[in-house]
Amino acid sequence: MAQSKGKEDILRAIREAPLLSPNTSLLLQKTSEPDHDLQDVIRIVKFDSVLTARLLRIVNSAAFSTVHPITSVDRAVAYLGEKMVVGAALADSVSRLFLKPLSGYEGGRGELWRHDLFTALAAREIVRTSRSALSADLAFTGGLLHDIGKAILSDFLHDTSRVAVAGIENGELVDYLAAEQESAGLTHAEVGHELAKHWKLPASLQEVILHHHHPGQAGESVRALVYAVHLGDIVAMMAGCGTGSDTMQYHLDVGYERYFDLTPDALALVLVAVQEEFVKAEEAFALA
């Protein structure tokens, strides 16, 4: 009874969560279509003065050190690439969620954003080892959004992190998803999926959010994408960019081997590349 009341409260919190701006929704919709091009992205940005201003600030920031100032949307988007545009739009639209301290996980302010950004960059880099064609930019977007459910669920976990960690350590709980289920009746993946539906995110991103810890359960058409985000998530946690008490408390789904040629050396190179990009991207977004 108490848990079902808890579930109702969580679902209400999802309905009351901040909405994505219309242009951010449009951007996520358009960039999830396989045949879109950069002109589609530029057209959307041009109709959004706040996003335009933010992109111009990013492209002219010290992180990118361009020789001459960039003053046009076309050049800014071409220079930064789709991933930075989507990242800036999401950061503007729902920074309140990304920056929330994750008290239910003993995570501090900005840790969710840092983890999501690291995961996004890692997922994008892992796509390079894909055995088939896969959108690196969509993997980036999936990485940014994969853990958004924690921003909501954290408030309902209260002081459960020590019990959760102990339960996993003594084998009573299989992973942190099981701990969340036990404490709140829903996992962060399920909560994120509900939020994704509320936001009317593209189906591929909804699957990423729901299945990022169990990519083998995703539909075949998006499975490789979900695996890329799953691996990006694990790489972020290994690199010390976690979200608190649940860091490294999830299992690896080895089904990734069917989709990616990821050797130990390739993974080490992913880590080097992402850590360099992360420093730059964090400075450019200047969110946390």
């Binding site: 992190s161 020590r162 946690m237 860091t247 130990p264 880590l271 080097v272």
Partner: protein, 162 residues
């Protein structure tokens, strides 16, 4: 006086009394900490990967990133504080090197870091006096310049010392 905070691949040494040398959320990375009782110098390097052969340019830009370039780089700056360049007589403490929950050859960077660091220390004739390595949790680590005590913190697990 502010604590000395190290990021991934950073290394530093100090003998400023009253401060801590600290690094956040090690994950699979390992903090190698050296204490020289003779000069009261403390050094730390935050090692991310075992072997610099994977990216020679990175090892030139950030030698602390790799075990095989990071430990010599740390010894070298400690020599600037009057310590012996080969580390003899130093106290060594290690923390970090966590693994994911599953045994997987590709993802066991934490174990490879531990092995590489211990091999290098052994070849250097340095003995580890205290360590908190492995398992599957990320650690924030600090070492007191005054006492040499290492404090380890992990969300959901609390704080302990080695």
């Amino acid at each position: 006086m502010s604590d000395l905070i190290l990021g991934v691949g950073d290394f530093a040494a100090t003998r400023t009394a009253g401060i801590q040398v600290k690094t956040f959320a090690l994950g699979s990375c390992v903090a190698v900490m050296l204490l020289d009782p003779a000069t009261r110098t403390v050094g730390m390097v935050h090692v991310a990967l075992p072997d610099s052969a994977i990216n020679a340019q990175k090892s030139r830009e950030k030698p602390g990133y790799f075990a095989d370039t990071g430990i010599p780089a740390l010894l070298n700056i400690m020599a600037g504080y009057g310590c012996t360049g080969n580390g003899r007589g130093m106290i060594v403490k290690l923390a970090g090197g966590a693994s994911i929950m599953d045994d997987n050859e590709t993802f066991n960077i934490g174990k490879r870091n531990q092995a590489a660091i211990k091999n290098i220390l052994r070849a250097q004739g340095l003995e580890v006096v205290a360590e908190d390595l492995g398992e599957n949790y990320s650690r924030t680590v600090s070492i007191s310049v005054d006492t040499g005590q290492v404090t380890i913190f992990c969300p959901g697990r609390g704080q302990w010392h080695i």
